[in-house]
């Protein structure tokens, strides 16, 4: 299996009719780091993740893995997986079957919790539980990059804390791109932060200050 040390996305242009959603994007997602994208609702974060994943076709794009252009990254073996905002798994599918399909391994630390949930169907889980296990399904996948779209939504604080720890522990083997509105949580675990505004990305050298200056969070 070939290891890609870096993912770069630029020259992305996405428009719906006259409305340009994305137009001047530059992102670099190194392996072994957590990269965050923050931005207001509807600014195009999810679209950007889907473009990188390869399931949304923009007007133009250049998504490169170690400099090599890949048109459909999701079709590449063990390269990238994507957690969407909405439920990912078929409701009738059992948790253990989904993990088997994705070749994702849950470690021993989950012990009783895994035993309690593995035979349940995703449709039978609460919103928060479902989100948590779907995030683990993607996070523990044997791939080099994971794209997490709002992994903390519907989660109780205890799950959020645990997930933050798990994301940090997984970054040694993966490049992780995360977007979520819980900006404090995201900033705590991210190594670099981009802000998406008016279709452009800005790398934030001092994220908290910069987010205030850009009007994303109150002073």
């Amino acid at each position: 299996m070939k290891f890609f040390k870096s993912l770069e996305a630029d020259s992305i242009e996405l428009a719906y009719g006259e409305r340009k959603i994305l137009q001047s994007i530059y992102l670099q997602i190194p392996l072994g780091e957590v990269t965050a994208i923050l931005g207001r609702n509807g600014c195009g974060k999810s679209s950007l993740l889907q473009i990188i994943f390869g399931t949304l076709k923009p007007v133009f794009k250049s998504v490169r893995w170690d400099g090599r252009f890949v048109e459909f990254p999701y079709r590449e073996h063990h390269l990238v997986r994507y957690l969407p905002q909405h439920p990912l798994t078929p409701p009738a599918l059992r948790v253990k079957d989904a993990f088997k399909w994705y070749d994702s391994a849950v470690d021993d630390s989950f012990g009783e919790r895994w035993e309690g949930v593995k035979n349940k169907r995703f449709g039978a889980l609460s919103g928060g539980e479902r989100r948590f296990w779907e995030t683990l399904l993607i996070l523990f996948s044997p791939v080099q990059y994971v794209l997490l779209d709002e992994p903390f939504s519907h989660l109780s604080p205890i799950y959020v804390e645990e997930l933050k720890w798990l994301i940090t522990s997984q970054k040694a083997q993966k490049g992780i791109l995360i977007t979520d509105h819980l900006y404090r949580e995201v900033l705590e675990i991210s190594d670099q932060t981009y802000f998406l505004q008016n279709g452009r990305t800005y790398l934030l050298p001092d994220p908290l200050r910069d987010l205030m200056d850009r009007g994303y969070i109150p002073e």
């Binding site: 590449e76 994507y82 969407p84 990912l88 599918l93």
Partner: protein, 116 residues
Amino acid sequence: MSDCLLACRKFNFMLSAVWLFYRQFWFFTHAVSWGGWLMAQVPLGDALWMLFGSFFWLKLVSFGVIWYFMHTFSRQNYLFYQNMGYAVTHLFVGAFGLDMLLFFGGLALINWLIHL
């Protein structure tokens, strides 16, 4: 040998994924096909061969309807399969093949049992 084994495993995995995808709407396509067969006055043998083209088109249209509804209302459901590396077109082509096989296999079985 190991390459062959790997290819077989990959093919088996793909078939299972297509089956998982197909299970979402198999009831609808079979209801349409078997309904069409009943309306055509249960043709078998040579009579069935005469209507093969019509059944093929009926299946294709029912798949078109499924594709339209899934594409319009539940496009996000594709992501589970795309995360496994499968393109939507491949899933539909695989499911169509499987559906044809099951329907015409079922008809062949009925034909064989009647003439037994």
